[in-house]
C-alpha cells in the first residue's frame, strides 16, 4: 500500500471507531487522542481493526507509535508495504 492508501485506511478505521467526530480535516502532526477524543480503549480498537482488516500486528509496546497520523504512517508503512 502507498502512504496515501494507508492514510485512507487509517481514516476509515477512525471514522468507524469515532463516527461522531469529524475525520476529514485531521492534522497529521497533532495527537489523535486530542483531535478525536480517543482513549486507550479506542487505541486498542485501532490495533484490533488493523489486525482484522490488514493482518497487521502492533505489539503493545509499539502503541505510542500510533499517536499522530504522521507517526502512524511512519510506523505502518514498512508493515503494510
Amino acid at each position: 500500500m502507498t502512504r496515501e492508501e494507508i492514510r485512507k485506511a487509517i481514516i476509515d478505521i477512525l471514522a468507524d471507531i469515532a463516527p461522531d467526530e469529524d475525520t476529514s480535516g485531521l492534522k497529521d502532526d497533532v495527537g489523535l487522542r486530542d483531535q478525536l477524543g480517543l482513549d486507550s480503549m479506542d487505541f486498542l480498537d485501532i490495533v484490533m481493526e488493523l489486525r482484522k482488516r490488514y493482518n497487521v500486528e502492533v505489539p503493545s509496546p509499539d502503541y505510542p507509535q500510533l499517536a499522530t497520523m504522521t507517526s502512524c504512517l511512519n510506523y505502518l508503512s514498512p508493515k503494510m508495504a
Binding site: I17, P19, E21, M41, D42, D45, M48, K52
Partner: protein
C-alpha cells in the same frame, strides 16, 4: 460414537447487559463466542415481561449517564463507540426533572448540572462553597484507576460537607442506584455514581428496556455471536487451575479457552467442581428490593405529577440497609416512566416504587401467604408514597409486585441481591487462570456500568491478550 464437545474461544455465562456487552466485543473481533443463560428471556436484572396484556420492564427506571451525542469521554458515548452502535439507536429521551425528598427539603435535578448546583446553593446556602469544592474534587478524581484501594465515601465527603442532611440527601440516590454496601460506598463508586446521576443525567427510550436489548441482541447476532437461552450452567469442571469444561443443566458439556461469568462471584464459585462450601467468604450481598408497578387509568400528569424520579426518605437519617421487616417503608424510589420528554404519551400510565427489602423474610414465607403479604406491604408502601406524590391510588387498575425471591428466581443472584457482593473484583480475575468475572460483581452497576464492565473485561482478558 462420542461427539467431540463443542469448542469455543469464549463462553459467557449470562445474557444480561454485561454478558451482551462482552459478547458483542468478542464476536466483532472474530472470536467464537457463546452466551448461555438459564432464563428464557435475555436482559438479566434488566429484562422485560408481559402480564395481563401490559408490557413491563423488570428493572428499568432510567438509564443513567445520559449525555448528548458526540460528548467526549463520557461512559455512554464510550460504550456506543466500543459496540459500534449509533447514538440514535437507543432512542433515549431525557427526563423532565427528578428530586430527592427528605422531611422538609426537596433537592431537584435535571440533566443540566448547573441547575442542581444552584438548587444545593439555595437549599443549603451555608454549604454552597463546600459543595463546589467537593464537586471539583469529584470531577478531577480518576475513578477508573483499578490500583487505588477502596475507601469510605462517607469519610471523604465529610471532609467537605458539614450539614448531615445535605450529606444524606446527596447519598440517597447514589445508594439506591449503585451501592452493594450498607450505608456507605467506595469513594470511587461514589464518584462514578455522582457523575452518572447529577453531572450527566437520566433518560429512557419510549419502548423501555426492550429497545436497548433489541439493539444489543441484533448487534450481537450480526457480528456472529451465538446465544443459547434456557441453558443453565450446572457446573464448571476444574482441573489444574483452569476451567476445562462447562457442564450444562441438560448434561451437555461445552469447552472454551476462556469463560467469563456475569452470574456473580459467590454464584460462580458455587459452580466450580472443586467448590468448598464457605470458600467464597463474605461475598453474599444483603441488599434487595421489592418493586411495585401500578398501572393507572390516568396519566400522572393529569393528577398534577410532573417529576420523573423521586428518591425519598421520611426520616432525616436515611437507612440504606437490609431491614428487619420484609420491607422498609421509610424510604424508596418513585419512578414515573411516563414523565420523560416524549413526542407522544406512552401507551400505559404507570407508577413504579422500589423499597429496600429483606430476602430472608420473603423466602421464609408460606407460599399461601405470599400473595397477601405482597398486597399488604404494597399498601403500606403507598401510604408513605402519597405523602410525597399526588394520591394516585383511586386510579390504579392493575398492580404487579416483585420481591427479593423473584429476583433470585429469575437471575439466580444469591439473596436476591440486586447489586451483588459487597466485595467487588475490579480486575475481573479469579483464582482460576481462564475464568473471569464481568458485570455486577466486577463492580460496575446499572445498565451503562454493566455494559462497560462487559466491554472492558472482554478487552482486558481476551482481546488485549492475543
Amino acid at each position: 460414537m462420542r461427539l467431540e464437545p463443542l469448542n469455543y474461544d469464549v463462553i459467557i455465562i449470562g445474557a444480561g447487559m454485561s454478558g451482551l456487552g462482552a459478547g458483542i466485543r468478542l464476536a466483532h473481533y472474530g472470536k467464537k463466542v457463546c452466551i448461555l443463560d438459564r432464563h428464557y428471556l435475555w436482559g438479566g436484572l434488566n429484562s422485560f415481561y408481559r402480564l395481563k396484556g401490559y408490557r413491563f420492564d423488570v428493572g428499568l427506571h432510567a438509564m443513567t449517564n445520559y449525555v448528548p451525542r458526540g460528548t467526549r469521554n463520557a461512559p455512554l458515548t464510550k460504550l456506543l463507540r466500543q459496540l459500534r452502535i449509533d447514538y440514535d439507536e437507543f432512542d433515549l429521551r431525557p427526563q423532565s426533572m427528578s428530586a430527592t425528598w427528605f422531611p422538609g427539603k426537596r433537592l431537584r435535578y435535571t440533566n443540566e448540572f448547573a441547575f442542581f448546583e444552584n438548587e444545593v446553593a439555595e437549599n443549603f446556602p451555608h454549604q454552597a462553597d463546600r459543595f463546589r469544592s467537593l464537586v471539583k474534587h469529584v470531577l478531577a478524581y480518576d475513578a477508573l484507576d483499578l490500583s487505588v484501594p477502596e475507601f469510605s465515601a462517607r469519610k471523604a465527603v465529610a471532609q467537605y460537607l458539614s450539614d448531615p442532611l445535605l450529606v444524606e440527601m446527596l447519598f440517597c440516590p447514589l445508594f439506591f442506584y449503585g451501592s452493594a454496601v450498607e450505608n456507605d460506598m467506595d469513594f470511587g463508586q461514589f464518584v462514578i455514581m455522582f457523575k452518572s446521576i447529577y453531572c450527566e443525567g437520566l433518560a429512557r427510550p419510549p419502548e423501555g428496556v426492550r429497545r436497548v436489548l433489541k439493539v444489543l441482541l441484533d448487534k450481537y447476532k450480526s457480528v456472529g455471536g451465538e446465544l443459547r437461552m434456557k441453558t443453565g450452567v450446572a457446573r464448571l469442571d476444574v482441573e489444574g487451575g483452569q476451567v476445562r469444561g462447562v457442564v450444562l443443566e441438560n448434561g451437555e458439556v461445552l469447552q472454551a479457552t476462556k469463560v467469563i461469568s456475569s452470574a456473580g462471584y459467590p454464584e460462580t464459585m458455587r459452580l466450580l467442581s472443586d467448590y468448598v462450601p464457605g470458600s467464597e467468604g463474605e461475598t453474599h450481598g444483603q441488599l434487595s428490593f421489592v418493586e411495585s408497578i401500578d398501572v393507572l387509568t390516568k396519566e400522572p400528569r393529569e393528577l398534577g405529577y410532573e417529576l420523573t424520579i423521586q428518591f425519598f426518605s421520611t426520616t432525616e437519617t436515611f437507612h440504606y440497609q437490609k431491614p428487619a421487616e420484609p420491607v422498609d417503608v421509610r424510604s424508596g424510589v418513585i419512578c414515573c416512566p411516563n414523565n420523560f420528554v416524549y413526542e407522544r404519551p406512552l401507551e400505559t400510565p404507570m407508577m413504579r416504587v422500589t423499597s429496600l427489602a429483606n430476602y430472608d423474610r420473603w423466602a421464609a414465607m408460606d407460599a399461601g401467604d405470599y400473595p397477601a403479604e405482597k398486597t399488604r406491604w404494597h399498601a403500606r408502601v403507598l401510604d408513605e408514597v402519597v405523602k410525597i406524590v399526588p394520591d394516585f391510588r383511586p386510579w390504579v387498575k392493575f398492580t404487579d409486585i416483585f420481591t427479593p425471591t423473584t429476583v433470585r428466581k429469575f437471575t439466580s443472584h444469591v439473596n436476591g441481591a440486586v447489586y451483588g457482593s459487597p466485595i467487588k473484583f475490579k480486575t475481573g480475575r479469579t483464582h482460576l487462570e481462564n475464568l473471569f468475572l464481568c458485570g455486577t460483581d466486577q463492580g460496575m452497576l446499572g445498565i451503562v456500568g454493566a455494559l462497560l464492565s462487559g466491554i472492558s473485561m472482554a478487552n482486558m482478558h481476551v482481546l488485549q491478550e492475543a
